[in-house]
């Protein structure tokens, strides 16, 4: 028998071979030498289900006792992904978990959704718990106008090198002990401890990985700038680039409907002679990103104590110039048994993370956006990358129109190489557990921890004026601090041979202590160019101080389980929260709420009658489980006491430039004096069956989670004087299935093949909102043109827009709808805000009949993934493929690529070879780039007859009207621009299903046999591995080559891409050594 630390004694002769095996570890064989002590380090075998997982408040629980699904992942699996963000690293590994990667560079936060969205207003990000410290990741990223640098949330500061295991608690039964913060599930992390060994151990690992931008949107490489198919020439005979290729014309420019590329010289708009060929943004702009991670750890352990100290440095640059992340992490985890009565477990983690210049996720400062929208395919990116400043006077290139015709210097390169926006985050996590063994069966634990976070942002902008005048400097500092003190009294007793129980009572107080958030900035430019300090402001500098909200939750709870014959386990919990944020200023109302959970696990394969049956000989292990859990939650801080009151709303700039601060209502939301807590209920049933000597296993879970009484800000009619009111309302349901299949087709001493498949299907439905309220807006896209909504009775995240194609409906004289063969066809007419070339174009439904339409839903239908692991002796191969099916993505980049003619989707109709129709335009020019829109004219739209008189085209198809000579075909440039531009575009064109299958990871590892080394090198293990990550999409439906994983925010209902980054793959090598 082994003791707690794994010690045991066995008698064996020298030279004998000992075989070590243990559940969930790979079997090892060792020859007995002359030493009396033999240290055996066993590799866990991840493919066999771990028998012990971390649940509840960090306690290790035998999986046999669980009544709900828990997934455990080893820290090393995350480390192997070579990714800053553990959210990204989790992708495809856990059934029921949806990951959406961020696109703002290494710091960008990813969206982690566990079993859909339970909340309509909160973040829905899971709670992360590291050694008992609670971490609440927030949402970051751009708003619906796309322009923002994403410094990411706290997840980027976590360091998987120090993690032993990661447990994902998905259901309420598992997470309800953590209270409201766990509404979106819990990611429970246990850091590494020192392992028992002789003397001091050390380990070093080093990874170098390289990121390569490999795929941009589908660009057309046949036509250059302008809208005329032929070049004009100057007096010297130079071919001239069409002026409509430039960024500057009002309203639009940057066209790529010009002459065909021929590689021959042309005179560009800035007067330079360049070859007429397309640019290559991947080569001209993007760089190779580097991921360099070094971890060194020393550890030791004895029977009475252990420690592990580790230092990790991560330096990560992205594919965008000057974007980097530099993270230093120090971690200490120590345990000590002070006496037979008292022991301590302390861990401290300190991270200093410096992020520089994250990419702008959209807008003019985003490279992809600017290449797609502001400039034609012929624009010389490489030239402006080095020629953005005025070489004589300093500052940005002067006379933008003639010197910087594509605005690259102004919008992209000058800011890129002259501005420096950095954010340093200092992050402390510290936990102390003091455990008293009061009686052999009774322990008392006091856990105290702190999560302190401070960030410091500096924004240095060099002036773009002559001599670098202008400029800007800003310093932001924020502080956050949470503390938690918890006490747990636990009894563990065996009542008799068949019955034993665990029971814990405890309580805690959790406090967000708040802290100042200060912003200081210069105004009117910098007095001395190039010097960055607040005092260097031309006009008086401004400082604003806000405060992070304070919050306190106190709780008492009791939980436990009772097991019968190691076969049937009943577990239950009960928690009561007192929440400061549910407290009113006059102390009325109820600020506490109570919620329980209960579950049962039954290992039916332990039944003697089953064991002895025929089925029992095939099924080694069979378990059924069921649970019911509730999770209560509170209001956002201050809501009960500030809605409907007053605050500063702005400043009035009066005559003579006097500025008066204005104080008015702090919002258009009506408060509510009767708010109560929210409550979520989750039912889960599942089964786990293993066959054939554990070589084949299934784990299936079905769940249904309903979140009731959410604290929402619901729309009211603005005529009431408020636009929203705070209310307890709604029933949001997530129902789904998670399936995990594990198999071991080959199992032998030298050759092993393990595979896992996971599959998730979740339906996120709004059962009800509130009487008189039919929908709630969740998230905007394309500015405010498209809205992701929660409609009562429909799925979460239905996209609604008035900017979709209008649908034709014939009407009789009195305006009643009548049947007509053309009903339902797309409608063509005059765009109310004008159209390019004044051509008729597809009408938006909102402009045709005032209607909005629902385009579809953003939530994925199915997520599936597989991991295949093959090992032969010391060599191993690991392949991960994951996939997502269903769910819409909107792309502004697609829209802009179509508008300017840079996208490949605009080739049709440009000339005869591409299907263009020949016609004579209204200026009398013969063209062959006509497109005939497929649609029907709206009532009241007019064409002109040959004699110049008007004719009503209402109800006629465009093709018929062309045949009859009432209208001309639309030239390609106008067709595409009118279809997609800001003033008349149809957003529906760039909203599409986003399904994909990704080859997420391939890695090859080799354990170098250490016995071949000279004894003087005290290496105990040495491993090298090569990992390729995000290698390619085996299948994708995203239109126009849009990056399928390009969301600009990790907000729950984010559904838009606005430039972002190209598709990026990484390839790297790691070496691990232990001493």
């Amino acid at each position: 028998m082994t003791d707690d630390l794994g010690h045991f004694t066995i008698k064996a002769n020298a030279g004998a071979t000992l075989v070590f095996s243990s559940v969930s570890f790979q079997t090892r064989e060792l020859r007995v030498g002359n030493d009396n002590t033999l240290n055996v380090q066993m590799e866990t075998n991840s493919k066999e289900l771990s028998e012990v997982v971390v649940t509840g408040f960090g306690t290790r629980t035998d999986t046999r006792k669980l009544s709900y699904a828990v997934t455990q992942i080893k820290g090393s699996e995350l480390v192997a992904t070579n990714n800053v963000n553990i959210g990204n690293a989790l992708q495809g590994k856990v059934a029921g978990v949806t990951i959406a990667q961020g696109t703002g560079g290494p710091s960008s936060s990813s969206r982690i959704q566990i079993r859909g969205n339970s909340s309509l207003t909160g973040t829905n990000e899971p709670l992360i718990v590291i050694d008992g410290v609670l971490i609440e990741p927030n949402t970051t990223g751009a708003d619906s106008w796309g322009s923002n640098q994403d410094f990411g949330n706290v997840v980027k500061n976590l360091n998987p090198d120090d993690y032993e295991s990661i447990n994902v608690l998905k259901g309420s039964a598992a997470s309800s002990l953590y209270g409201s913060k766990a509404l979106g599930g819990v990611i429970l992390i246990t850091t590494k401890k020192g392992r028992t060994r002789k003397g001091l151990g050390a380990s070093v690992s080093h990874t170098e990985s390289f990121d390569k931008a490999y795929k941009l949107l589908d660009l057309q490489n046949e036509y250059g700038g302008g809208i005329s198919p032929n070049f004009a020439t100057d007096a010297q005979g130079n071919r001239l680039v069409d002026p409509t290729a430039t960024y500057f014309p009002v309203p639009n420019g940057g066209y790529s409907f010009g002459p065909k590329f021929d590689g021959k010289p042309v005179k560009d708009l800035d007067g330079r002679i360049i070859p007429w060929k397309p640019n290559d943004p991947l080569k001209d702009f993007f760089e190779t990103g580097k991921y360099i991670n070094t971890n060194a750890a020393i550890e030791a352990a004895s029977e009475t104590g252990s420690f592990r100290f580790s230092y990790t440095n991560l330096y990560n640059t992205s594919v965008v110039p000057r974007n980097s992340l530099n993270k230093n992490t120090f971690a200490l985890h120590a345990t000590q048994k002070l006496s037979s009565f008292l022991s301590v477990d302390a861990s401290v983690n300190y991270t200093i993370n410096k992020v520089a210049n994250p990419i702008n996720q959209g807008g003019n400062n985003n490279p992809i956006f600017t290449f797609m929208y502001n400039a034609p395919r012929s624009a010389d990116i490489a030239y402006y990358k080095t020629h953005y400043a005025d070489p004589v006077n300093g500052g940005v290139l002067k006379s933008a129109i003639s010197a910087d015709p594509y605005y690259f210097a102004h919008s992209l390169f000058f800011p890129l190489y002259n501005n420096d926006v950095t954010r340093q985050e200092n992050y402390l996590l510290a936990n102390l557990d003091v455990r008293a063994q009061i009686l052999p069966w009774l322990t008392f634990l006091v856990r105290t921890n702190i999560n302190a976070y401070n960030d410091y942002l500096e924004n240095k902008q060099r002036g773009s004026g002559v001599g670098y005048t202008g400029g800007y400097y800003e310093v932001d500092q924020s502080n956050y601090k949470n503390t938690r003190v918890q006490g747990l009294l636990t009894a563990t007793r065996e009542i008799n041979k068949d019955l034993n129980f665990n029971f814990t009572v405890g309580g805690e107080t959790y406090r967000n202590l708040g802290g100042p958030q200060q912003t200081s900035k210069t105004n009117g430019g910098l007095s001395t160019p190039g010097l960055f300090f607040i005092g260097n402001s031309i006009q008086p500098a401004t400082t604003v101080v806000n405060y992070t909200p304070k919050l306190r939750t106190d709780a008492v709870y009791a939980y436990g389980d009772i097991s019968w014959r190691n076969m049937l386990t009943l577990n239950a919990s009960l928690r009561t929260d007192w929440s400061s944020s549910l407290t009113y200023a006059d102390a009325h109302g109820k600020n506490y709420y109570i919620y329980p959970s209960v579950g049962v696990g039954w290992i039916f394969s332990e039944l003697p009658s089953f064991k002895n049956s025929k089925v029992g000989s095939i099924i080694n292990y069979g378990k059924l489980r069921a649970s019911l859990g509730y999770t209560g939650s509170s209001a956002p801080a201050y809501l009960t006491n500030n809605a409907g009151l007053y605050g500063q709303t702005g400043t009035f700039n009066g005559a003579g430039n006097t500025n008066i601060p204005i104080y008015s209502f702090n919002g258009n939301t009506l408060g509510n004096q009767n708010l109560v807590n929210e409550m979520a209920r989750e039912i889960e049933v599942g089964a786990e069956i293993r066959f054939l000597d554990n070589r084949l296993g299934f784990d299936v879970a079905w769940y249904k989670k309903n979140a009731f009484n959410q604290i929402l800000s619901l729309n009211t009619n603005v005529e009431t004087g408020v636009s929203n009111r705070t209310i307890n309302a709604g029933n949001i349901q997530n129902q789904g299935i998670e399936l995990l299949l594990t198999a071991q087709p080959i199992k032998s001493k030298n050759f092993n093949w393990n595979m896992t498949f996971n599959l998730t299907h979740n339906r996120n439905k709004i059962i009800s909102l509130y009487p008189g309220v039919t929908s709630l807006d969740l998230e905007l896209g394309f500015g405010a043109d498209v809205v992701a909504r929660a409609y009562a009775g429909k799925e979460y995240g239905t996209l609604s827009t008035g900017y979709g194609f209008a649908s034709y409906q014939a009407k009789d004289g009195s305006g009643n709808p009548v049947s007509n063969a053309n009903n339902g066809k797309r409608v063509i007419g005059a765009a109310p805000n004008g159209s390019t070339g004044d051509y008729y174009t597809f009408l938006r439904s909102q402009d045709y009949d005032g209607s909005r339409k629902d385009i579809g839903n953003i939530m994925p239908n199915i997520l599936a993934g597989t991991i295949q692991e093959v090992s032969y002796k010391n060599l191993s191969l690991n392949i991960q493929v994951d996939s997502k099916f269903g769910g819409l993505l909107g792309s502004a980049t697609s829209q802009y690529g179509l508008e300017t003619g840079n996208g490949k989707g605009t080739l049709f109709g440009r000339d005869k070879e591409h299907g263009g129709v020949a016609f004579t335009d209204k200026s009398g020019v013969s063209r062959n780039d006509g497109i005939i829109p497929d649609g029907v004219f709206a009532a009241g739209v007019h064409g002109t007859t040959a004699t110049g008189s008007g004719v009503d085209l209402g109800g006629m198809s465009y093709a018929d009207a062309v045949t009859k000579g009432f209208v001309t075909p639309v030239p390609a440039y106008a067709y595409y621009e009118n279809l997609t531009q800001w003033s008349s575009g149809i957003r529906e064109v760039s909203i599409f299903e986003n399904s994909w299958v990704a080859l997420r990871q391939v890695s090859i590892g080799y354990n170098i046999p250490v016995k071949s080394f000279n004894k003087k090198v005290p290496v105990t293990s040495l491993r090298v591995s090569i990992t390729g990550r995000n290698l390619m999409y085996l299948y994708k439906t995203a239109k126009d080559g849009v990056n399928p994983e390009g969301l600009y925010s990790n907000r729950a209902a984010a559904f838009m891409e606005y430039g972002g980054l190209p598709m990026i793959r990484s390839l790297g090598a790691t070496i691990n050594a232990s001493f």
């Binding site: 009002v250 304070k550 005559a655 430039n657 009431t720 004087g721 408020v722 039919t774 005032g850 200026s923």
Partner: protein, 531 residues
Amino acid sequence: MKLYKYVLALLVLVTALGSCKKSTFVDLNIDPTTLLSVDPKQQFLQASAKLPNDFEYYYDVYRSLMPWMQYSTGASGNGSGFTNPSSHFNYRYGNFYSNVGVPLSDIPKLIAKMSSSDQAARVYENSIASIYKAYYAFYVSDINGSIPYTQAFQARYGGTLTPSYDSQAMLFDTLDAQIKKAVTTLETVQPVTQLLYGTYDPFYGGVALQWAKAGNALRLKIAMRLMKRDANKLKSIATDVLADANQMSAISDSWVLSVGSSFADAGGNFNPSGFLASQPIVNFMLSKADPRLRIYYRKNGKGQYVGSPTSPDTAKLPAYQALYAAKDTPFSPLQHRLFTPNFNENDGFGVGNGDGFYPVLTYAEYCFIRAELGARAITGDAAATWYAKGVTASINFYDDRAIKAKVSAYTPVSAAEITAYLAMPGIAYDPTKGIEQIACQAYLDFYRQPSEAWAWWKRTGFPNTTSIVPWSPLSSNGNIATLTRRASLNLADPGDANYANQKAAYDAMASDPDFGTGPSDAFGRVWWDKK
């Protein structure tokens, strides 16, 4: 076992924390930046600052009303559908209910919560807010017809969440009575020294009698809308108003919001860049040497004033298309700084730092109302006199604003110019064409109030293609392009909380066949706009 006790004590302590005093929680949950109340002047400034809405300028003013009223055209002329109702038109509706009306409705409530002595000192403040609120309600109803008013803005005070609609006829009566009451109050000496908004009143700096004048002018303005519906009421209101001593008598009496240079930032939606002067107006002003030409528009690169044709079919002609596309387009732009004083004209003068302005009801408009009342013999006013006063006031007003806006290289208007202008044929008052002349001069004055120009056009039929100020006939693909007459209204979803009230109001409006084919028919008419 000593430690055992200690541990148990700790447990008790931790448990006790869970049931800590509620007062601690109360203190924690108070946001330090929340104010429990504000001074009424704060709410008045908030409402004043929200008078112009940037989206209203972007869509309603620049992209709809100004081109419809032929003050301007788009960068390459007007498109064939430019007279069609845009789904973005009518920003004033939301601006009233979300921005302007909310703080104005709070002022009486804030005052009511004060001590009786404080309340007595704020009688004038209450009246001033009442006049402003009446104006904006009128402005909204003017193109929307029936709107919620008497039951609106009550949610914050425990009132209805489903306000019923006031018909326009009733609303105009309500507003007239409301303004009259406020004016009378402002003219009555109060027993207690009155607090006034002072610098928090960017219209009049808190001068009570100025507000009385504005109130009187507003009553006339609203009453003029009744011309075809209820001539008797127009007459009785006009007679009542003119009997009052406090009347506008100088351009400084104009009801105008004055703002600083960055209020309407040239970088945002207030930017009128890309719009061109209109051909009919430029040509008319050139022919009459109208001094406002140099205030309203800028010269082209060659130092000339050239207008862009307003008819889509004219703009489409290849000759014009070439001019629009030319790098040095000959068409005059709008006078940017009259709209956004900090506009950089790229003419070497850099970013401007003058003052901006948003007229509500100017002295010139007041004069033209008086002139028309006289010309129609509704009052005994001398039409010719008030007409000349109106033209003079209009020129002087815009001259003053151009100077304050620091229009680049601006030459102030001389008195002689005005005299000469007033003597021009077509400008000099001719009683046989009095109403047409008054309406056309009011139209020229409404350059910065195109919505009011629209209303006068609906009421008087001027300007038109044959009037003294001649509009171009608008032809789009060979057909006459007609102008809309009201906002396009959307009927709410039947699941909407206030659906029943809205439907009842729309049904009532639709009982008049002139309302149009349905709520969304912008070519239909509201109640006052009788055929």
